[in-house]
């Protein structure tokens, strides 16, 4: 190489930052997210992780955010509020995250929301259904998820619909964590308001190895409709107990358990149909608007996505809308600009995989467009079909026997 070539190479090297400047637009946007990927609720975080991965594949395949690829960095909290605090401290104080996506259960979300508020960093909850968090007056807590209040209202509407078909004798069966007990408390209040007598209320702990006694208590009460809040393991144990007791009420479920897509692999499918296993949910794979997500998920994991997987897929898209809003306004991605962007976004229902009318946050961070559906196992429990509310239902719910 002669002197001229050396000089040209040196000049080219010196100009590298300039020639790369347009590529700065390609700089990756990295947003942290917290989820319980180990511990007793690891299934929620692991499914959430799968949902996040598919969302990122879709967003980045569609050109990213303003041409920049998006990356979500997941942090394991074990579902433990103590670990949540440690992770939040690191993210807000050390890493100066401008926004945090929460795929965390209610107990952890409570700790995370408190921390985010103190640090003045927006926390976008896509998972926890706690209504109480929205009543704390936090400015930096946003939840695009449904709440226990809307869940309870949907269950009661559905039970009222069953009441038009015959006598409904309702009983409550629930695991006693804040998740189960909290929603059931609201259902109880709404039914009492309507003058509906509840014949039995049977709480149990999630780790109970034998659910024959509480299920028998419900059976002996003469109930023909059981409103049941539970996680997968206790719902499986309870359904087995019902089968042993020859007890086939109409089950209206709440929470991840009754709606878990793996239930037909764990319990006799004919029995699932005999009890009309239904569940109030914020996602069902048969929704037209969710098909891109469902197909990608099935191709990758060989099973239809669970509601846990859907929640953080949706959350990443909510986050994308906020990031896009801030970038389009020519602003840097800071906690303040993203806080303003979250208050500004308005995502129409047809762009969502949830049955929501839209995603629009009020001043308390509540999504005013959230809406539930009720899905029911049909065709020998081979598919979970959306049956309520009528405007999104794919089929009618099974009639009350």
């Amino acid at each position: 190489m002669n002197k001229f070539q050396w000089a040209a190479a040196g000049l080219a090297f010196a100009m590298t930052p300039l020639t790369l400047s347009p590529a700065q637009a390609q700089e990756e946007i990295v947003i942290p997210s917290i989820a319980a990927m180990s511990g007793s609720v690891a299934v929620t975080g692991q499914d959430a992780q799968k949902g996040v991965e598919i969302a990122l594949e879709h967003i980045n395949a569609d050109g990213g955010i303003d041409g920049r690829p998006l990356k979500v960095q997941l942090y394991d909290t074990q579902g433990n509020p103590g670990v949540v605090r440690q992770v939040m401290e690191r993210l807000t104080r050390l890493e100066k995250a401008p926004v945090i996506l929460g795929c965390e259960i209610s107990a952890g979300t409570s700790a995370a929301a408190q921390f985010a508020e103190q640090a003045r960093v927006p926390y976008l909850n896509s998972s926890a259904v706690s209504a109480e968090l929205l009543e704390r007056g936090y400015k930096y807590y946003f939840s695009d998820q449904i709440t226990a209040d809307t869940e309870a209202a949907t269950v009661v509407e559905f039970v009222e619909n069953l009441m038009t078909q015959g006598d409904v004798v309702p009983a409550l069966l629930y695991e006693d964590s804040p998740r189960g007990a909290g929603t059931i408390e609201r259902v109880e209040a709404l039914l009492e308001e309507r003058g509906v007598e509840i014949v039995a209320s049977a709480p149990y702990t999630r780790s109970d190895r034998n659910l024959l006694p509480p299920v028998k208590r419900v059976q002996t009460s003469g109930a023909n409709v059981v409103i049941w809040a539970g996680y997968t393991e206790d719902v499986v144990a309870g359904l087995q107990a019902m089968q042993q007791l020859d007890f086939t009420p109409y089950i209206v479920g709440i929470g991840g358990g009754p709606g878990d897509v793996r239930i037909p692999q764990l319990v006799d499918q004919d029995f699932l149909e005999a009890v009309n296993l239904s569940t109030v949910d914020y996602f069902n794979p048969d929704m037209e608007r969710a098909q891109r997500f469902v197909k990608s998920y099935e191709e990758k994991h060989g099973i239809v996505p669970s509601s846990y997987a859907s929640m953080c897929y949706r959350g990443v898209y909510t986050l994308k809308a906020a990031l896009q809003t801030a970038l389009e306004a020519g602003e840097a991605l800071t906690a303040e600009t993203l806080h303003a962007a979250l208050l500004e976004i308005d995502i129409p229902g047809e762009d969502l995989i949830s049955p929501f009318e839209r995603i629009k946050f009020d001043e308390n961070g509540r999504n005013v467009g959230s809406q539930n559906l009720i899905a029911q196992w049909k065709d020998g429990a081979t598919k979970k079909v959306t049956v309520w509310p009528p405007e999104v239902a794919v089929q009618d719910p099974n009639p009350l026997k």
């Binding site: 149990y204 702990t205 144990a237 087995q240 089968q243 319990v267």
Partner: protein, 291 residues
């Protein structure tokens, strides 16, 4: 609260207690012979439960048979764990033993999470949903068979300890290891075989549990806690005491759930535990070591 519900709870609790007994006996035996309280006991049980799931998925066998089939594998696991981890801490301070076995528990849980994921697994069979009716009382068939198998295995263990030469050696080692050594008992070999055998017996308990229960990576913790409770309540190192304590705890747990609710069951168990420790510090039968 009707008498029918109470009877139902008592029967279910007793059957559950039978299975608890087999799980806890293995822990009591290990403590009796080598003085090690193994906090990873439930996690070794969890390994057995995953083994039963794998065998059942591959062969469609009953979980009880699958439990028997994995006994040799569990004995081997117990043997390796003893050689690598337990033998160095025999005779060490209780805190050292606790730290090591709790650490082992975390390692087993994490390995299960990596290997099987967080999903719940169970074994689906006709038996799982069948029951026997005695008047108004419904007896879960898998629970009944599980209890009978567990009681049979416990009986065999009792016979082995009281009527065979190896049983004498084990009891001698438990009684006084130094004197046993002086009398020609190969104490280290006895300890090794006891740990391996106790781990092997967890395979049978795993088969009984998987007939009606499920497994996740964290399921072992509850069985570790329960076994420790039973072993202490029965009197440290007292096998018969552990057996009685398991049945008492099973019934107490179910009755409390029926009378109050399930949420109060753990509290009731600990109240019972505290009362028993105050009134019977050497265990329910008064033959265990001082706590």
């Amino acid at each position: 609260m009707s008498m029918e519900l109470l009877l139902q709870a008592a029967v279910s609790g007793f059957l559950m207690g039978g299975i608890y007994a087999l799980i806890a006996l293995a822990l009591a035996l290990v403590f009796g012979v080598m003085g090690v309280l193994n906090f990873a006991h439930g996690d070794l049980l969890m390994v057995g439960m995953y083994g039963v799931v794998l065998i059942c998925a591959a062969t469609n066998l009953s979980p009880f048979i699958a439990g028997l089939l994995i006994v040799p594998a569990m004995v081997l696991i117990g043997w390796v764990v003893f050689i690598l981890l337990i033998r160095p801490i025999v005779g060490s301070a209780p805190l050292v033993q606790a730290q090591l076995t709790i650490g082992m528990s975390f390692v087993i849980q994490s390995a299960a999470l990596l290997w099987f994921g967080a999903d719940l697994f169970n074994v689906r069979s006709e038996l799982g949903s069948s029951s026997i009716r005695l008047g108004d009382i419904v007896i879960s068939a898998p629970l009944l068979i599980g209890c009978l198998v567990a009681l049979l295995a416990s009986g065999l263990l009792a016979w082995f300890l009281s009527a065979t030469i190896w049983g004498y050696r084990i009891r001698a080692t438990a009684e006084d290891p130094v004197m046993a050594q002086l009398c020609g008992v190969p104490v280290q070999r006895v300890q090794r075989w006891v740990f391996a055998g106790a781990t092997g017996s967890l395979a049978i308990a795993a088969g009984c549990l998987m007939a009606f229960y499920h497994v996740t990576p964290v399921v072992g913790l509850q069985f570790s806690v329960l076994s420790l409770l039973i072993v202490v309540l029965g009197g440290l190192g007292d096998l018969r005491g552990a057996m009685v304590a398991a049945l008492v705890l099973g019934v107490a747990e179910a009755m409390t759930s029926a009378i109050f609710n399930s949420a109060s069951a753990p509290a009731a168990l600990y109240i019972l535990f505290g009362a028993a420790l105050l009134l019977r510090p050497h265990g329910l039968l008064g033959r265990g070591a001082t706590v």
